[in-house]
């Protein structure tokens, strides 16, 4: 469930040349249009992702009600599990809260969880992979064995261990997901670095006395950037699904914070037959966003890897 996308990209992409584009550099609109025409699916996905960001940022404006408020009836009791109606377009949850507002605010958490965990994970992985691949030797050996050990321990055991000891919170969930991403990312980066190092321009740069840092930044990093970007985009989607899985196991974002994963795995799953709308709406939200991230990753990979360019 967790690692397939990383593994699918293990083969490093060494570009044989730069992408040649029929528009003037600096002309952003033309660039965007050119990209959209070449990769319509990717462009659509980019729009969806943009939409997600907008919803997340404007949540207080877009949500019709307070996502934490229990809406009460005339007897002072919460309006539990109402089907979608005019007053509550997507229904209410078992505590009487408006589902639509919770989904809108849920976009925030999903975005934060996705971005933060992927950022931290890929950053950590990149650093480890760079160090490991560039300097090789004992350092490489030590780091790689550490990576192997972390990858060999099942993610569920890791997640349970972290949550049991450190407690459950959004921060710890981000930490756990980052820990899942980092080893795979480090391997990809290391592979890329090793492949790049075979090229003579690296030897040449070292021969004329360029410092390792300069070599890394000028020659290695640009080639690493593309695969990492693709991985990161896809992992953004995966992170959201992992959060839902953690919620299922009781290790997800603690309430009352609304997250799509918790809504899907908690009250959504528990009331699947009596109130299916509780599961359908967060489920659809998750699917659309993950779909968009995956397609975006596909499009990026197609664009950045010249081997896959169409005839």
């Amino acid at each position: 469930m967790i690692r397939e996308s990383v593994i699918a990209d293990t083969a490093p992409a060494v570009p044989r040349g730069r992408l040649r584009a029929p528009f003037a550099p600096g002309d952003a609109w033309a660039a965007a249009w050119w990209l959209a025409r070449r990769k319509p699916l990717g462009a659509a996905s980019a729009l969806i992702v943009l939409g997600l960001v907008v919803v997340a940022l404007l949540a207080p404006v877009l949500a019709p009600r307070d996502p934490y408020a229990f809406n009460l009836n005339e007897r002072g009791l919460p309006i539990r599990m109402q089907a979608p109606s005019a007053a509550f377009p997507l229904g209410t949850d078992p505590l009487g809260r408006d589902v639509l507002s919770r989904i809108v605010y849920g976009a925030r958490v999903s975005l934060v969880v996705g971005l933060a965990s992927v950022l931290i994970g890929t950053l950590l992985g990149t650093v480890l992979g760079l160090v490991s691949g560039y300097w090789e030797g004992t350092l490489d050996h030590v780091i790689q064995r550490g990576v192997d050990t972390t990858m060999a321990i099942p993610a569920i055991v890791l997640a349970l261990a972290v949550m049991s000891v450190l407690g459950q919170s959004l921060t710890n969930i981000i930490l756990v997901i980052a820990l899942v991403i980092a080893p795979g990312a480090s391997r990809v980066v290391r592979g890329t670095v090793l492949a790049v190092k075979q090229h003579t321009f690296v030897d040449a740069a070292q021969a004329i006395g360029a410092s390792p840092g300069r070599v890394v930044v000028r020659h290695v990093l640009p080639n690493v950037f593309a695969p990492i970007l693709v991985i990161a985009t896809v992992w953004l989607g995966n992170a959201i699904v992992i959060e839902a899985a953690l919620s299922f196991l009781g290790l997800g974002t603690p309430p009352p914070t609304p997250t799509w994963g918790a809504m899907l795995s908690g009250e959504g799953r528990r009331n699947l037959e009596t109130a299916p709308y509780l599961a359908i709406f967060p489920g659809v939200a998750i699917s659309i966003v993950v779909l968009a991230f995956n397609m975006l990753g596909d499009a990026l990979r197609d664009l950045l890897d010249p081997r896959l360019r169409s005839r």
Binding site: M1, L41, I153, P154, A161, V165, L264, E273, S287
Partner: protein, 316 residues
């Protein structure tokens, strides 16, 4: 080549030892222990009784002593006894491995049956409507959480069809009809995810192969397009696909937990989950060690196949 293999094997053993150390320590940090988890809610034991129970399970001995006992046993194939059931960990694992292997193999078969044709189609008709549609459905398989799909399937199967996969595992050679009936639906759910990954891999690797020189030669020689694809391209394109599948096997072992949970299939994944929840140290250690061994071996085989394919990598 031989030194490379030897080196990789040694590295693998080192990783296994590190994993054993890591998991042994990790589980003992978790709050609670097997004694507490087994108690009935109404039980009202005194701390002395609890201490005595812990002692019976060997949990009061010093850390290193416990580790030494366990690891020496493990090296002889005895992974100890479960703290909860008091049965041998090896035999517990053995029973579960049968089911998980069945499930993994069936999932892979399902995934390949879906992924290969669609992947080929998608590559051959790159950037056309068929390609987009195929990729869309592939990615859909990745977007829906599999545990959620499992719940939906089991709930609505029961309501609409009045049938759910039977509980009670029988291996394929004992009762093929029951085994298939039991595992087909979970395999479909798990396979859908795997199909998505494999499909994209098939597509990209086939695309890459199709640009190779020998393909151009075949076309120049006048071979029909279908012969080009089938005879020349596909064989080479499938090598990376096979390695991906190989890597996925280890993911399948641990990643099917939740589906097993819902369909009440006792596989290795749910064994691990239960063991962690019950703080059954020996069982967790045994299961994780097994899991790690599978990953190490699979990685080794994959790396070896890469080395065999690309001589440049060998000298690293």
């Amino acid at each position: 080549m031989r030194t490379y293999v030897a080196r990789r094997v040694l590295q693998g053993l080192l990783v296994l030892w590190l994993v054993s150390l890591a998991i042994f320590s990790l589980v003992r940090i978790l709050p609670g222990d097997a004694v507490i988890m087994q108690l009935d809610q109404a039980a009202a034991p005194s701390p002395e009784t609890l201490a005595r129970a812990r002692q019976e399970l060997g949990l009061e001995r010093p850390f290193l002593a416990q580790y030494r006992t366990w690891i020496t046993g493990a090296l002889h194939g005895d992974l100890g006894r479960s703290l909860i059931t008091r049965r041998s960990v090896t035999s517990e694992l053995g029973k579960r491995i049968s089911l998980t292997s069945h499930l993994a193999v069936m999932s892979i078969v399902v995934a390949l049956l879906i992924a290969l044709p669609i992947g080929v189609l998608s590559a051959v008709k790159q950037d056309t409507a068929s390609d987009y549609l195929a990729r869309f459905f592939a990615v859909l398989g990745l977007s829906l959480p599999d545990f959620w799909l499992a719940t939906v399937v089991i709930t609505f199967l029961a309501i609409w069809v009045q049938w759910i996969p039977p509980v009670g595992f029988a291996p394929l050679w004992e009762d093929p009809a029951r085994c298939l009936g039991q595992l087909l639906i979970p395999a479909l759910i798990i396979g859908a995810r795997l199909a998505a990954v494999s499909m994209r891999m098939t597509r990209s690797s086939l695309l890459e192969v199709l640009r190779q020189d020998y393909i151009r030669t075949a076309r120049a020689k006048g071979a029909r397009e279908r012969a080009v694809i089938v005879r020349h391209a596909m064989k080479n394109a499938f090598i990376p696909v096979v390695t991906v599948i190989g890597q996925q096997f280890s993911v399948l072992l641990g990643g099917t937990v939740i589906v097993e949970f819902i369909f009440l299939q006792p596989g290795v994944g749910s064994l691990m989950l239960d063991a962690v929840l019950l703080r059954d140290y020996t069982l967790i250690q045994g299961a994780v060690l097994f899991f790690a061994a599978v990953i190490v071996v699979t990685n080794l085989l994959v790396d070896l196949s890469y080395a065999w394919l690309d001589p440049r990598i060998r000298y690293r």
